[in-house]
Amino acid sequence: MNQIVTIAKKEFKDAIRNKVFLTFLIFLLGLTAISIYVGSVNYQAKVSLFEKTYAQLIVNGQPSDTLVKPEFFPLQLLRATIEYLEIIGAILAISLGYLSIAKEKGNGTLPLIFTRPISRKKYYIGKMLGNIALIVSISVILFLFTFLLIRFVGGVNLNSLEITKILLTTGATILYLFIFFSLSALFTIIVKHPSNALIFSFVIWLFFVLIVPQIGDTMDTDNQVPGGFFNAIHVNKEQSNIILKDFSTYEKLRNGTEEISITKHYERLVFAFLGIKDMYNNKFLGFIFKDKLQDLDLIVIFLLVFGITPVYAFNRSKNLWQQNE
């Protein structure tokens, strides 16, 4: 156990001294800060407009009861943060997985390690734990940062349910990033030249993070018009479900395309937690978990497959160091 902790600590220390990693992290924090700041200012502008209009109506002696106060769902401010995490967070996790193995392979430090009394399995587990600690730190810093921005820039006090939802989003983000870390580590272990592993990882990233969700979104009937197609033609949710029954094959195909993307499952789950999809807004966790169980299940399946496979690959790989003269 001591050896695993030693490796994990060294891995953590090594990564936080890496300039590429720090640059990505600062970039991610910067984008998050901007998006939440813009969202908060936008909301405050709407409230200010409402208050001014309301005051004017009172002054003019006109009826003010038709004026609707803008609703504010503070967790919806995290939408952009989640979208950045889906894309940049995945790149960050891929970089961690790649660097964790490729640096050792490229530098030739592994012979120093494996002439010591430590098994390959323990060594990889130590590396994995060090990187999990790093991913946890990144996620906690990011969501703590968003919480503070909402509190102090947006001026909103979050209630305990909202804080719990942010914590669940943090947990889901850790799982999502870990899957990309493991995927990239796996490729780096099994291919002979680490640079090829980076190419493979980014092809996977491109396909599952950008292309597949985009196909799914483009095929979504409700996404054809800004604000929603059915909304635009004044068809409510129940009626739209009845209409969509006639297009069930098309919908199955669209949904099936999205199902293969881990990014889409992550997005569906955290958008539900954060109430970014209106139907989950202000809903209790029991309802959300029940409705999103399939996405959670698939995230766990991805997690198990990509979490365990690199351990065995590392244990058996003949590509970790040069094995002939």
């Binding site: 090594d14 030739g108 430090t109 009394p117």
Partner: protein
């Protein structure tokens, strides 16, 4: 006396190439063994098998009585290894590198062992510098330090003087002899520098295309080949036989 390093018909094939062909070797405790051979002769393959880094195709090897394949962890507790062109974690300082490796070796008192090892190689005062800042010679000395942190019984050195300037070679040679004399370590040294063998080793073996063509003490070697004027000529006469 039971040999501390022993190989029995040790063979390694890479597809159709035979890197090592039925190597039989016995090295006793306290020896400094110089393993000579041209590039590609099979020296690094031998050390890689003895240090448990790779598996032989057939045959067996043991260190301190433990089989390198079936009792790898026991072997690893008893060996130190300095690879050719040793590489470290350049982001970390000398101390952090050594602390990491000492802990992986299961050393009880890493700080004490690091201080002792650095003192032994005459490298105190540089602990907090990053590895990237050092010359090849200095890195080789730190390489020795990492290999002796856990007081191994056998030390494997793969071309330890390769790429060093004369001063670096002299310094490293002194350290190797001191390790043997003061700490009683058995040393297995791959080299193609004959002058190093003559100045450092007690026994020599010559490997040619994977075959061990010669094995004897340096003293006997000098007696056997008394007609030859230098060790270099002895080496060539053995290779040509």
């Amino acid at each position: 006396m039971k040999p501390i390093i022993s190989t029995n018909n040790l063979t390694k094939k890479y597809k159709d190439d035979i890197a090592l062909n039925h190597l039989n070797l016995e090295i006793n405790k306290g020896e400094i063994f110089g393993f000579l051979g041209h590039n590609g002769a099979g020296k690094t393959t031998t050390v890689s098998i003895l240090t448990t880094l790779i598996a032989p195709t057939s045959g067996a090897a043991s260190i301190c009585g433990y089989d390198t394949q079936t009792e790898g962890l026991e072997v690893q507790k008893r060996i130190g290894y300095l690879p050719e062109n040793v590489k470290f974690y350049d982001n970390l300082t000398v101390y952090e590198n050594l602390e990491y490796l000492a802990k992986l070796s299961g050393t009880d008192n890493p700080k004490g062992k690091i201080d002792e090892a650095l003192k032994f190689i005459d490298f105190t005062g540089y602990e907090n510098k990053k590895l990237g800042e050092f010359s090849k010679g200095m890195r080789q000395r730190i390489g020795i330090a990492q290999a002796i942190l856990h007081d191994p019984e056998v030390l494997f050195l793969d071309e330890p003087t390769s790429g060093l300037d004369p001063m670096g070679i002299k310094k490293l040679r002194e350290i190797i002899i001191k390790l043997n004399k003061e700490k009683g370590m058995t040393i297995f040294m791959n080299t193609h520098l004959l002058s190093e063998v003559a100045k450092t080793c007690t026994t020599i073996g010559v490997l040619n295309h994977g075959n061990l063509i010669y094995l004897d003490s340096l003293e006997n070697t000098m007696k056997k080949f008394k007609d030859e004027s230098s060790l270099e000529e002895i080496y060539f006469s053995m290779e040509n036989k």
